[in-house]
Amino acid sequence: MKPTTKTTPAYWNPIVETMPLERVRDLQVKKFKRILKWAYERSKFHRKLYQEAGIKPGDIRSYGDVAKVPKVEKAMMRDIQRKDPFPYGDALCVPLEEVTEFRQTSGTTGTPVYQPDTWQDWEWWAESWAYLLYAQGYRNTDRVFLPFGYNIFVAFWAGHYAAEKIGCEVVPGGVLDTEARILKMQELRATAMMATPTYVLGMADTARKKLGIDPARDLWVRKITCAGEPGASIPSTKKRIEEAWGAKVYDHIGATEIGAWGFECTAQPGGLHVNEALFLVQLEDLETGEIIEGPGRKGKVVITALDRIAQPCIRFDSKDVAEWAEEPCSCGRTFRIIKGGVVGRSDDITKIKGVLVAPSAIEEVVRSIKGLGNEFEIVVTKKGDLDDITLKVEILPDEEKNRETILLHLKDQLRLKTNLGYNIEVHPYSSLPRYEVKAKRFKDLRKTG
């Protein structure tokens, strides 16, 4: 670790992070009206959308009016892009010459969506990440390693700039392979890193098996920020990573079209704070669309980025599903908490044999079973009129002798936690696909055959 300077404040912006929620709400409504007017006046796409719904910016006077504004979905953005102003189409709210950054979505759910940002937007990206990294204990004493490909996906780009903004020393692990990254982290005594949970687990595996390095014992990393997949909010996955690295693991939630809208703090309250300073996040009932304000019901996450200007994100249907936590966080932030992080995506949560299932629930079971490897795959098919679900797993080589016990335990836990029976397939260790970003472990083949 770099030398400690002095005790640092607890919050990136103590004024807004501890403000009573009702005042935060007033601030959000003011900013919502501002970004709505901005988009209405500058983007044909937004103006048409709102005119068709009979909405003018002046119609929004209170928090209750926000839900009257039509939602935007990713598919709508796909339709307008690759047209003038090329390549973004008419959701662009600034002259093309003011766009300084290009990124695109990963394409996991379809054709990638382009994301233009101005320099101000890019500062805003770093600002949103600065809130989250500061809440996770990043300080100017940290040397942060980014084992990330630095490409057209936004991923950890903003984390890099936010860490710089906080004053950390940033080491870009760009084109190095996994072994070289681990050795560089060891050589430089990196204290923190950011990566997907899948990659972090894979790195630990490579360190032990190929380099004889035990990350918890031989490396200096004591905090890890995960993104890209829900793993770091799944207790059994978080536990595996924390044990492998001897580090605290923190989750964050965001998207290219939205920004980094939620984060776990050092208190690890069993959920993610919404960044209420920069985003207005609402949960909508999955069936009725009613806004959910309290705990106890899961809803679809609809988000407005309150200060993003080049291609505004107003009432974006993220397809994420979440639930509000009951208790405030002991960290003192008034920002609301998404209980257990995002529990799934509305297009992933599906009925199998009549039971509503989120793939994250299956991950929680697999990763909680001692003796199973980190990788797994879920395949849902139809056999006649009946759904059929297969779970592919690997058993750790050292645990083969316990195979029968492990599989019995797995079946019991799956039945208990998901109310479903599975065909379990054990595959040779290291044979299931390994992912660096955006793992695709859930395959629903019922429609595609």
Binding site: I15, V16, M19, D26, Q120, T334
Partner: protein, 68 residues
């Protein structure tokens, strides 16, 4: 501002002072940009300052009217 330790608290008056300085930086940066015609080295750096000023406004200026 519940949750803050006393020594971290800032008075409303101090926050207003911050806001006054932020407004002054915005004005100065905009003037710099206008004066910089023909000197990209000044105009483009003024643009970058203005982007950072916007972050100060998000953190302080926008929030100020919502404090007691």
């Amino acid at each position: 501002m519940g949750g803050l330790r006393r020594r971290e608290m800032m008075t409303l008056r101090e926050i207003k002072k911050l806001d006054t300085r932020i407004k002054a930086i915005r004005k100065a940066s905009q003037e710099l940009k206008e004066l910089a015609r023909g000197i990209p080295a000044v105009g483009c750096n003024a643009d970058r300052i203005l982007a950072s000023v916007k972050m100060l406004e998000i953190n302080i200026t926008d929030v100020l009217p919502h404090l007691k």
